[in-house]
Amino acid sequence: MTAEAALGTTTATSAADAAAGSGTGMILSARAVTKRFGGLVAVRAVDFEIPRGSIVSLIGPNGAGKTTFFNIIAGLTEPTEGVIEFQEATIVARPVRAWAEPILWFALPAVTAVIAALALLAGISAVADVLVGLTAVVLVGSLLIAVIRPRWYLNLLPRFGIFRSARPNDIVTFGIGRTFQNIRLFANMTSLENVLVGMHSRMHATLPDAALRLRRHRDEERTSRVKAREWLAYVGLKGRDDIAARNLPYGDQRRLEIARALASEPKLLLLDEPTAGMNPVETTQMTALIGKIRTELGITILLIEHDMRVVMGVSDRVTVLDHGEKIAEGTPEVVRADPKVIEAYLGAPTA
């Protein structure tokens, strides 16, 4: 079923661009997502949807598979089964006909090689030599393409019924930003630089632009720095631009990570335990920030959280995972009342 789903949809990129504007409905929907590690199942057949402009929380005891699911959406892990669609475009799914991809790489060289062989047999050595050289060049070229995987190549794949999940960096450009459970800032870069890296996918100056300091580069740098500072201010790090991320206090590091994610202008923001290890004051601030991001910027948010107050405070819908399975879903009130949830948390606590 996943295969058809994957094939049915148009390619990740084009659809993402197409659907970019579309107003309502589900911004992200996961169908029957399963992930196995060796024998064990981290996520089992989870269906999951995020309405555009909402805040959805994903909760569950430790080891429930929340972060795995998260990483599948972010493109860090390929699911064993299932499909994830972002704005009506399949971005992540189990690879389809992955085996056919190498055939693509060697198709062109093979053709030239065959012609070369024919030429040799025909005894037109001059032509043959040229063709042999050509074959080598083509081979190297196509292998390079296979490594670099440029856009047009990715768009080409579906034509041959091949589906490969988008790479993390592509997913960012589609409009999904994320933070990490264990903060992963660029520790030795300043806050500003961190945010600028976040903007990377939205900047377009090329190597020559930078080398020759062309207008495009200069303007872009200027404007993006202004914007970066705005982001820092937005999350409450005004004037901390020049401090190395490693030297920021813990709470600020979390904020910086959010600023960095926001800088990539996401439509969907994945927050992995944003308030983990925060004191109540920081927590309330963070909760406020999250709400603000949704209301002011209209960014849809998927939240993984342990702190129930946060979850119940901000989220429109809550999904509960336990042992990789979805055991409950609905409004905070409904979920809070759900006996299965209570059991999962209080009764028979899991490692």
Binding site: G38, L40, A42, G63, T67, T68, Q181
Partner: protein, 343 residues
């Protein structure tokens, strides 16, 4: 995520335990076929040559892989330790006034034991000293700093030997008589048997040490997570020192073996052997002892094969080409995944 992943991806290891020997067997069979195809009736002889030199590489590679496993340092000085080992054996043998092969078996055994013990001991100590003074202080420094000191140390060792002993080729008396055991189909000379047997014995001993003893466990835990090990009461410095001792002792043994097998040594022999051995370690999956052995044999075979097919001058290119090829498809080496029993 990482936490869950590692927790979940546990039960691969029993399989992995078997994987090493299986692949090794496959490699041996395959390369025997290739050699047989190329060398005709010389095949058995060539095969033995390959295994012998492979065993030598494996011995050196073990040191590389252990040191890397525990402090993630490419110990470029390791090749020179090997070289020094061969010189120590030379000086021991000549001091004993031995000039040629010893036919009287018991005497031979005694001499061999003495030579090996002394060389392994001396080189082990040297290795520990190097670690103490050249690497320990840099344990938390940027990763390249110890790499540079390692190369610096190797320069120092080379220069000491070249100026102190000889700046040219030195002949080492080959203690083991050059007699051949004939098995009808093929004949194998005693020295090859000795080298292979000794190498295998040392490898098995090392494996048992790592897996069965407390020290071995300490080494493995340190390799996996130094801080955690420390918290569990493992004395990191001692453990690392011991690792260096064992690794260098093995290199010393390899040095002696080289002397017995080849019969000459020279102060700059270390770089080439070191390079091949390190390649072996990486090929097999650096940090993985089984992998080092596997890699050693693979390289031995590759060299002999390229020689058999008349491309001796390309052997280096072949070896590194193979390395690149393997790493492209298995970025962590043939047995790389098995991080659990790094030592």
């Amino acid at each position: 995520m990482t936490a869950e992943a590692t927790a979940l991806s546990g039960p691969r290891f029993p399989v992995a335990r078997l994987r090493g020997p299986l692949i090794l067997l496959l490699v041996i069979l395959a390369s025997y076929a290739v050699i047989a195809f190329g060398a005709g009736e010389q095949a058995p002889a060539q095969f033995i040559n390959a295994v012998t030199i492979g065993a030598l590489y494996a011995l050196i590679a073990l040191g590389y892989t252990m040191v890397y496993g525990i402090i993630e340092l490419i110990n470029f000085a390791h090749g020179e330790i090997f070289m020094c080992g061969s010189f120590v054996s030379w000086s021991v043998i000549t001091t004993m006034g031995i000039t040629g092969a010893i036919t009287d078996i018991p005497r031979l055994v005694i001499v061999l034991v003495v030579v090996f013990l002394i060389s392994m001991l001396v080189m082990g100590v040297v290795g520990v000293i190097i670690e103490r003074f050249a690497y320990r202080r840099l344990r938390n420094a940027p990763r390249l700093a110890p790499l540079i000191t390692a190369i610096g140390v190797s320069f120092i060792l080379q220069n000491i030997i070249s100026v102190g002993i000889s700046n040219s080729v030195v002949t080492i008396p080959q203690l083991i008589p050059n007699t051949k055991l004939d098995f009808g189909v093929f004949s194998i000379s005693v020295i090859n048997v000795f080298v292979i047997a000794l190498a295998l014995a040392l490898m098995v001993a090392l494996h048992l040490f790592i897996t069965q003893t407390r020290l071995g466990t300490a080494m493995r835990s340190t390799a996996m997570d130094r801080e955690a090990a420390q918290l569990m009461g493992v004395n990191i410095n001692t453990t690392i020192a011991i690792t260096f001792f064992i690794g260098s002792a093995l290199a010393g043994a390899a040095g002696v073996v080289q002397g017995l097998y080849i019969g000459v040594t020279v102060f700059n022999i270390g770089f080439n052997y070191g390079l091949k051995a390190f390649t072996a370690a990486v090929l097999g999956g650096i940090g993985n002892t089984t992998g080092a052995v596997l890699g050693g044999f693979v390289i031995g075979f590759l060299e002999v094969i390229s020689q058999v097919y008349g491309y001796a001058n390309w052997s280096e290119a072949v070896v590194f080409g193979a390395l690149v090829a393997v790493l492209i498809f298995r970025p962590t080496g043939i047995l790389g995944q098995q991080l659990a029993d790094r030592a």
